[in-house]
Chain length 394, copies 4
């Protein structure tokens, strides 16, 4: 057992940390962002800086132009990137692009990669992932998928409505999940500038860290030729798993950076602000919160590292990534909530960065499977393992 980072990884950690502090954090209050997220112009500038620093799209394979990071290396680097809410955008490792790039690398054809993936890895384009639907469609339960793909000549016609489609506005292409006539699901690739894709509106969301915000999209008879099917027909649900297990974990990594950022702000405040005759930090009530923060941050980091290492060993980690997702989303949330409390009035206003982290992070306990779905998934696997161990249950 060994918790030491390799020298190479330590260098990457330090480089990323310095880059974020020096190149990205000064842009955090740049006016080119609004309630829906950073504008394209700001995003382009951030990406340019990462490109210049050699840190762009580091999780892509070396062949595609990335750094070919292992999961453990991602754990270290993404935490550093996440220290600023603009960091993941800069490095092109934000959701949904990060997961889409991973999925494309795994599943897309060479032609598809050249057409869609290559410019995305270079940071020139963005993508979105269209799975979630309004009731009664696919939500926490992907099996309720309503959007349909019907055969039409050498291609398919896609019809349906999707929402919570992060980054749709301004994206170059979309991966659409649709139900086939036989009940299976398939993923389709499509350029966003087609008449069959209607951007109905952007949703007003609590977070504002995703370029393009979260959209409602309508697919109206969108034609997709068969060469634009992603992977094989009928394997949509399987690919969703391929995308999700690591994608969950990269959320944990990025948000760990944000939680650490909030904690640093709270420690700083607690050292400086006096109340009742001494600094806040010398009150046990505040000190205990700082200690709890440290415990939660370290717990999250250990779960991330362990699961990342298992992924690097070639494990699928469905169980472990569910576990890490629940543990991290809840632990990191507790950290940020405590930081708000320590900062007092400054925690609930933009006087400090913590309010923004608080509102950005709340959704993390929900997307990519709410805590409740992961707990239930874990429970079934725990019992199944016990059944296997015991023979059939008595």
């Amino acid at each position: 057992m060994n918790f030491e980072l390799s020298d190479e990884l330590k260098t990457l950690q330090r480089t990323t940390r310095d880059f974020i502090r020096e190149q990205i954090m000064p842009l955090e209050n740049d006016p080119r962002q609004d309630a829906h997220g950073p504008h394209a112009a700001l995003r382009d500038e951030l990406v340019s800086r990462a490109r210049a620093a050699g840190l762009l799209t580091p999780h892509a394979s070396i062949g595609m132009g990335g750094l070919g990071l292992s999961h453990v290396a991602k754990a270290v680097m993404f935490e550093e990137a996440g220290y600023s809410w603009l960091g993941p955008t800069a490095l092109n490792i934000h959701a949904p692009d990060e997961g889409n790039i991973h999925l494309m690398e795994e599943v897309a054809s060479a032609a598809q990669k050249q057409r869609w993936l290559a410019p995305q890895v270079k940071g020139f384009t963005r993508s979105c992932f269209a799975m979630t639907e309004p009731s009664p469609g696919a939500g926490a339960d992907p099996g309720m998928l309503q959007t349909t793909a019907t055969r039409d000549g050498r291609g398919y016609r896609i019809n349906g409505t999707k929402w919570f489609i992060t980054g749709a506005e301004g994206a170059s292409y979309v991966i659409v999940m649709a139900r086939m006539e036989d009940g299976t699901a398939t993923m389709f690739l499509a350029d966003m500038d087609q008449p069959g894709i209607v951007h109905e509106r952007n949703m007003d969301a609590m977070d504002r860290c995703f370029t393009g915000g979260h959209a409602v999209l309508r697919f109206e008879n969108l034609y997709v030729p068969e060469e634009d099917v992603l992977g094989e027909v009928g394997k949509g649900f399987r690919y969703a798993q391929v995308r999700l297990a690591p994608a969950r974990l990269t959320h944990c990594m990025r948000w760990l950076g944000q939680a650490r950022r909030a904690h640093d702000a709270a420690v700083d405040h607690a050292r400086r602000r006096q109340a009742f005759g001494r600094p806040l930090a010398e009150h046990e009530g505040v000190g205990f919160m700082l200690a709890d923060n440290d415990m939660d941050l370290h717990t999250a980091r250990l779960h991330i590292w362990h699961t990342a290492w298992m992924l690097d060993q070639g494990e699928r980690c469905n169980f472990e990534s569910s576990r890490a997702k629940v543990v991290c989303s809840e632990a990191e949330w507790r950290v940020v909530d405590r930081c708000v409390q320590i900062l007092g009035g400054q925690g609930v206003t933009a006087e400090k960065e913590v309010m923004r982290i608080f509102t950005d992070m709340r959704a993390f306990r929900i997307y990519d499977g709410p805590s409740e779905v992961h707990r239930w998934s874990m429970a079934r696997k725990i019992v199944q393992a016990a059944d296997r161990h015991a023979g059939a249950p008595a």
Copy 2:
């Protein structure tokens, strides 16, 4: 012991509930509001409706033009008003006016009441309360007050900076807390349209339910004649207590209404939205959250009622109002957080009202004394009571 509401109070409850549903909730998405809160024009319309319904400023004494509500009656009516985030504004019972009106009734001279309180009770004017200061000034610890009042002829000169001054923009008058040369504190009344009061800026806050938002104010040599001292010189800290104990409790009441609103939205969603083959509500994981919500709501209501009843008996309730504040702010917060979780993506977007309640409510665990300060205050009183009971501690 009797938990029955009087017939009169039941009627008031029903009238308020109907008024809120019919007259106020339809205005909730009125465009005349922004990130800092409702605009004056919207506020005026809301107030007009409450005036027409005979529900305006109900906590003011009958002599001043209110309904002269007991604390228990306030508990019932304010919860109903709080069901809409615009309700307290409509009824003129929102912070800080609600507490200022109470304080003015208790302490102001007849002339002061005629000048400032009478138009406020009629809903024509608003006020603000200037106590909190940037570091190293008064925050959770009011004893750190830095704003000074120095004698100047027949009046005083006030200098200092205040922040988190709710409702300052657009307010007609302010109650300023300042430190005297002898170290005591005094409250002063002043019209807001004087050159000695500089509105530096409004703060970007997580909430947006307070007309006028939260301001940074600078007092630059503001002259206050001695007849505009509120109450007696040197009694500022005592009056702050007079204002705070009931003010804490009215926050609990109003937010209970908001928490109930969120819970109703969550129950409704859980009944309708399907996942994994049945409505969300038929999943124990969701059902347990609904049960916990009910427990928390009822706990909050019982603490409010009990403390209100004690205040009606003439008790000062410093301990009980601290206790109710911590219990209610934490219980009501848990409710709203669970509702976000139940609603999933709709909980973190404006698709449903719960996101707004979530961001509006977070500050409640902080203002009027963060939970930590109240817990510590309670702890000291618990020990003092035990000391008295036991004789001196061994």
Copy 3:
């Protein structure tokens, strides 16, 4: 609304408090008790003292020789009795006799009352209630009842095994719940000294406050004549509800007394014991726990009072008694767990009374329906109420 206790009730409260302190607490370490509970001899002495003080079996009707207490009066008096772990035994208000007496008053025939209830109210006999069974029988789910009653001439033959039968050893009679041939359930009364009732063993339990401990009983062809059916044939499940709703609440009352006792011990310790230069109570970490204790104790008391008052209004309170049971069992447990923590080493040894309260109380979150069953029951009722309110669910 009125939280005032009547003068009569205040007198009863004071009398009970003094009685417990002066007559019962001095016997707490009496050697006539072991790991299974107080011995019969100690129980007899305790009961004699309560009889002499006029406090015996106060919840029984006046006609049967009790004080005919309302539920609210029980709330006040049982909390006082619960301050000592021997108090409920002394007053003859401990489980299961308290609930059995209530059930017998409601359902038993005049002859049954004379034969079994009258001596029990006088404190001369004890009873037990035989419902729970080993797997796969009735537990949290009473519908799984396995014990059978089959018609035999003018009576019934009962067969089956029961466990967790509190107070069985030394009890004079038992109320047995059994399944009829048609699937309904019936309650039967039987003297314990019959050959068809085999006391297999007493279970080693964490608690030791119940006279007679918890037994495993086997019913082997026990004959019960039809006049010993309790109430009507086939109404067993309904009567179980009659018994349970108030019985749950009296648990809450008694354990509130124990939790208050633990809290008093913790306050006392925190005032006296020094660490790091000052009394424990002057450390925020400890002070916060004392404040949390006070909040939890008061929350429990308010839920008890409110539910008791509703029962006094004639409501069935199935929902409210479930709610109170979960709230109180969890709040009171948190109190006792914090007291253990405050007391440190003395909290986990018999040096202080808190360890005993801790081990006695843990089962309270389980019996009469574990928290999980009550939460689920509440959830279904919340949704049903919303359905009724809304018309059929969409």
Copy 4:
């Protein structure tokens, strides 16, 4: 980074696991134990079995006759040993011997090692550690030490009272902590069979897993020659730290085994026991608890492994061992409490092993520093680190 266990360590893990299951668990209900713990005869048999299996005192150095385990190896092996409450006793790795052996290895002279440590490593003797004192002496705050050592010729005279002295009854020697005339502290070694050491009584404790229980000892003019000083005079507090940081962690390891044992029992029960038409485990309310257990167990394991690895790198880990102690003691406790809840009535009786684990484990949140002391210690270190990072606080 690498979470892989070496082949050697995997073998040790498997060997220990099998040994515990085959050799130790069958003795768990051996009658040679009582409320104070295993009797000497049972302990001797357990130790013999471990000796025969080559697993005795594995943490001692190879030179002394142990296996010279690294901290990481201890983490793996002690968890396995802890799966049975008799396992640590069997392997001679229970508190306080485990920590005393470690301290003796670090500090004792060659002669002291030969006299006291050698037979202890062979499992022929036991020891105890006398630091904690009744009020107003040393407890959570060791600085309050009251027991005195005064110079007397070529030795010292020790006077004072100690309590919570685990394993004192039957121990061969004691390490006594006493205050010197100059205010420093010193550790002394003494055989237990001397007239100056009075065993006043054993305390009635909630746990019963420690051979010898927990004693009150009185030192009456005990003479200790100067060659029996452990290490250097005046370094008692420093040595206490040497002993404590790893000792805290070994508690975490052993109790992790117990928590896993409880979890396995709960999973097994949840798979088998039916309620409301399906196995408990198919109820989300129960399934969520199983998932939470898994998260808590894995969190504890990761903290243990990480801290152990740091200790193996030569770090002192005062901060990390405090953190691991709080995280593990609280996480493992939550696991066991949930297991009690899942098991229902069988969780609060000796029908299942969980009740015993519950009562054995509660003290773990208290000894070797209660959670509150560790949180405070962590808080100060967090702030000091920030101060160093920032220069002096502003």
